[in-house]
């Protein structure tokens, strides 16, 4: 046995968008063990719930994450609505689905770009972000914000989208689909990318399941779990297709996300076709008294908001469990046995969002 040495990876590293620290235990060039540590950007959001009215906390819940902000806001609102037994108007539920799927498109395109950057494909990175800009433009036109939408509220949504705009959005998706097809063909078929990603960071189906992998990380190993299948919001009226791959390597996780772009555009088209006319919000009176676990599908996997109220305007407890936290144990498993040079690609393949994780 050769001598073991420990090499620190992060919290500041060119490939990491956010700080996570990994101590890599190496034998020659092979990683034998990994000790992760987080806690660099804790902001105390969960404590803040005691000091802000539950209706105002939506804006803070949204700021948990800079990429999947809309999903955080919507999940929080749905949790409160479940406690208070509020029947949200149909149109608001469909609008939430449309914005959630646009968030997913923008998050996956951002990740595909960062992933291309992690293995040194700068041109592909720029092309992915070029398409992402079209998605952000639609977000700004419909909600007023590019990244932090602020369009969700307890009891519905704050803004409506006109039927003409919805039709224009659906039409524009055809062009975006064509651009994304061109982009994903490179990711899925280019020989240099396949050489870099095939059989790198492999995690078996059983390990992914038992270590609690969620989202594209689990689906890349063949575990067909998708919280949208639970049918929260308007998802029960739409046909949600779960994309899975069987190999469990970095290529599979990339392929799942690349293919999910098209399921998202399909869901938006379905929602635009089915969206009914009617009010977009309902007046909320009273305060939440009770507790609820709200689960929703973030771009990275299953998100859980636990909310507890005591009948006053201030909640007693909020607990957010984000997908990146549950994807860290599978990440450790993936890294054991890999080469040191593959570590950046494998770390990025779970789409780590550390701001979410630490809140």
């Amino acid at each position: 046995m050769s001598k073991q040495i420990t090499v620190p990876f992060g919290p500041q590293h060119p490939v990491l968008p956010e700080p996570i620290h990994l101590d890599l235990v190496l034998e020659d060039e092979t990683v034998v063990d990994v000790i992760p540590s987080i806690g660099y950007i804790h902001r105390g959001f969960e404590k803040l719930v005691e000091k802000r009215e539950f209706t105002d906390y939506v804006y803070i819940a949204e700021r948990t994450c800079g990429i999947c902000s809309f999903v955080h806001g919507a999940t929080y609102c749905q949790g409160i609505e479940q406690i208070m037994k509020i029947d949200v108007p149909e149109r608001a539920q469909y609008l939430r689905v449309i914005w959630s799927e646009y968030s997913r498109l923008h998050s996956h395109l951002l990740w595909l770009g960062l992933f291309a950057d992690s293995f040194g494909f700068e041109n592909l990175f720029m092309n992915a972000w070029k398409i992402r800009e079209d998605i952000l433009d639609v977000m700004e036109q419909t909600t007023g914000g590019r990244v932090i939408q602020g369009s969700c509220k307890v009891g519905g949504v704050r803004r409506d989208i006109s039927d003409e705009k919805l039709d224009a959005m659906a039409k524009d998706l055809d062009r975006i689909d064509r651009d994304m097809k061109e982009l994903t063909t490179v990711f899925l078929q280019d020989s240099s990318i396949q050489h870099r990603l095939r059989n790198v960071g492999v995690i078996s189906r059983g390990d992914a399941y038992h270590l609690g992998a969620v989202g594209p990380t689990a689906r890349g190993s063949g575990v067909a779990i998708d919280t949208r299948k639970l049918g929260y919001g308007a998802y029960d009226r739409l046909n949600v297709q779960v994309v899975t791959e069987s190999c469990g390597d970095c290529y599979s996780r990339c392929a799942v996300r690349a293919k999910e772009l098209f399921t998202s555009t399909d869901l938006i088209r379905q929602a635009v076709k089915k969206i009914p006319d009617g009010p977009i919000d309902i007046k909320v009176t009273g305060a939440p008294d009770g507790e609820y676990f709200m689960r929703a599908e973030q771009p990275r996997g299953e998100l859980v908001h636990y909310l507890k109220g005591n009948g006053t305007k201030f909640l007693v407890r909020s607990r957010i469990r984000t997908p990146t936290l549950t994807n860290i144990p599978p990440l450790i498993k993936m890294l054991q046995g890999c080469e040191l040079a593959d570590v950046p690609v494998i770390v990025l393949s779970i789409d780590p969002c550390i701001s979410c994780t630490e809140r």
């Binding site: 804006y59 007023g144 914000g145 061109e182 280019d190």
Partner: protein
């Protein structure tokens, strides 16, 4: 498996115009509902202080005695809730961002609203 899959896309972008804009020389893309910064109109403010209570980031301070309305732009998260809630419609959302500042501070405005006299 394909080789040189990226070449087609790369060649297409060579002949096209750049997709980026030369900000700030060229104005950034804005829509009529873009949230830039909050604008205050002192002529209409009735000093109800609902904006102060509803502000999730506690950026607004209204002082009835001093007749002043303050906003801390560094705390403001531009959520639009004060604009939505204002009963006298004295708050508006401008589509442009505020200019970069050299020092932290608050913007103070004077409330000049005069309550109309009751008809005899």
């Amino acid at each position: 498996m394909a080789f040189f899959e990226m070449v087609k896309t790369a060649l297409k972008t060579v002949v096209k115009r750049p997709v980026t804009i030369l900000y700030p020389a060229q104005a950034a893309k804005k829509t009529p509902i873009s949230r830039g910064h909050v604008v205050f109109d002192g002529n209409k403010c009735i000093s109800c202080s609902i904006c102060q209570r509803k502000c999730p980031s506690q950026a607004i301070v209204l002082n009835k005695e001093a007749k002043s309305w303050q906003i801390n732009r560094f705390r403001c998260v531009v959520c639009n809730s004060c604009v939505d809630i204002c009963p006298s419609k004295c708050l508006f959302m401008d589509t442009q961002y505020t200019a970069p500042a050299m020092a932290k501070g608050v913007d103070t405005f004077t409330i000049t609203y005069v309550k109309p006299a009751k008809p005899e």
